[in-house]
């Protein structure tokens, strides 16, 4: 008998009497608020950087990362120095200083942003760069993870990740370090999404 069939048989014989699956209630949640998202994000070590009134996104990015040599963008809104193409070998992003992506949604409860391969283009852009800049449409903030998990992406995307602030560790004496293995900083720029123009590429340099 195959391992699979032997195991499934053993499990069936061991299973306790059937227990019902409880329905999930509608949890009461405060209406999603930008202020709550921002507070949760900052608590998790992320930065919140609104565009100055009348300011341009390009100069905003330049001001946030004055020393950045290589900016690589998966968005239409920011033009990086390097184009992000799905065919790129992921390791070729190792020298990227700042990655730029647009979040699918934000979660006010935790300060998380949801990203899938549709937003990331190359998945590693969320982890290999030194810094990550995330554009988030404030209209796409949901109250809690319960609403976030209703997003169809979880059944459709190859990969989906909630990113909440930068990579972090407290494995030595509980001392908090940002930039363990992934990005050293994560900055969210609230910016309404403008429907993309037909024919515009993804962040061509």
């Amino acid at each position: 008998m195959s391992t699979r069939d032997e195991l499934l048989g053993r499990i069936r014989r061991s299973q306790p009497a059937a227990r019902p699956l409880p329905p999930l209630p509608e949890f009461e949640a405060p209406p999603p608020s930008v202020a709550a998202f921002r507070a949760a994000l900052e608590r998790m070590g992320g930065h919140w950087a609104e565009l100055p009134a009348g300011g341009r996104l390009a100069s905003h990015v330049a001001a946030l990362f004055p020393d950045a040599q290589v900016v690589c963008s998966a968005t239409d809104e920011v033009r990086g120095r390097r184009a992000l193409d799905p065919a790129l070998p992921p390791a070729s992003l190792a020298d990227v200083d700042v990655g730029v992506v647009r979040a699918a949604l934000g979660v006010a409860e935790t300060g998380s942003v949801l990203l899938t391969e549709s937003q990331l283009v190359v998945e590693a852009i969320g982890f290999l760069p030194q810094h990550l800049l995330v554009l988030l449409d404030p209209a796409r903030i949901v109250p809690t993870l319960h609403q976030a998990y209703c997003d169809p992406a979880f059944g459709l995307a190859r990969y989906a990740v909630f990113l909440t602030g930068p990579s972090a560790t407290a494995d030595i004496e509980g001392v908090l370090i940002h930039g363990a293995q992934g990005v050293r900083s994560l900055t969210v720029v609230p910016l309404a999404e403008v429907p993309s123009r037909p024919g515009s590429g993804t962040g061509a340099a």
Binding site: I11, Q15, L24, R43, P90, F162, D171, Q181
Partner: protein
Amino acid sequence: MKPVDHAEASSHFIQASDHIEFHDRRLWDLRTKRDRETATIPEWEQLRTLASQIKEHTLSHLADYLEQFERQAQANGVTVHWARDAAEHNQVVHDILAARGARTLVKSKSMLTDECEMRPFLEQRGIAVIETDLGERIQQLDDEPPSHIVVPAVHKLRSDVAEVFARTLGTDPANSDVHYLAESQRQTTRPHFLQADAGMTGANFAVAETGAIVVCTNEGNADLSVHLPKVYIASVGIEKIIPRTEHLGVFVRMLSRSALGSPITQMTSHFRVPRPGTEMHVVLVDNGRAERLGMADFWTSLKCIRCGACMNTCPVYRRSGGLSYGATYSGPIGVIIDPTYNLRKYSALPFASTLNGSCTAVCPVRIDIHDQIFKWRKVIAERNALPFAKRQAMKMGGKLLASPRLFRAAVEAAGAGVEYLPRVMLYSRLNAWGKQREVPAAPAMTFRQWYLKHRGRP
């Protein structure tokens, strides 16, 4: 096999007084943060009940959900493997790697691969395995197992890490700055991510409905382990299955709040379909779980989501250190699952508890941990597996507690004994309570004497 002597092993840890003080304080700090965080969620207790019910439902239909997961994962282009035990798991992983000529494997934290002792198995066969979580890497370089399921190197101080890294990574032995040490590990691990032939993760959850593997980390090392190499292997214990995506809302809201007192881990990653040109494999591992599922008193321990809250709150764990349990799983949850792996080897562990019930009170999936600890003691006593001294002491204790007259006489005699007996008799090997602590001074009056005086009719 010799049984693990938890008390003896912990005495070494207890002797290092600055270590144990820090260990105690750090873990209690995590417990305090957990309390603060859970108090902000009005539906917290409701979430615990839901999580428990979802897990119990899933475990009672586990075979069906495993089949659904397998079908869905295969439809996603994932190869699903099954393993009866640790040996078969390790062989499956090695076969995948060897068939592709893989020589290096970067991996994120997985208690299951520790349980299977996979690393030495692969290393003996010429495959370099690199742990990429900072705490797990420290433990790998020091050739020690993790001492805690969430914070693997919590028993070490920065000076210990500086010594390990100086010896293995060539860092400055005099520099024990935490930022310097963490940065050194980051810099030395990064080339491994970029060059590794294969990547591996464990799983926090596996969703039957979508075939997704869910991994929660703070460092981002799981995502780097998956998104750079061409081959990804996930090792998954069969009890990690949950029915649907919507259930993740319940579990993910509780996991990091229970573990570290943070609302969520920095990364919560859902791996479902391999990216073009790469492979994804899932190894579903039993290794004793099906047998545990059939144990009427102990099957609910399979609900565990490995948050470590029971360890952080346990006074015995905090003051004895995870390594003294001599098992992959330590602390209260370890105490109730280790005996299912080897009853004789772990027969002393259920006695590493004061039965205070704090573990049960913080468990996010409502496992009755301290009740199960007590039930294991009964199993062990019935099998005559108690050490001689404990058996005699329990016999004596049983007689005393069964007779009010004998009990009163003993209490009064003990009070006098602490006062008048010479130290050499009190702090000898015969009195376990006199080890590493002063026996407290007896109060002037026993409770019974006080009661008779103030309330009593004789």
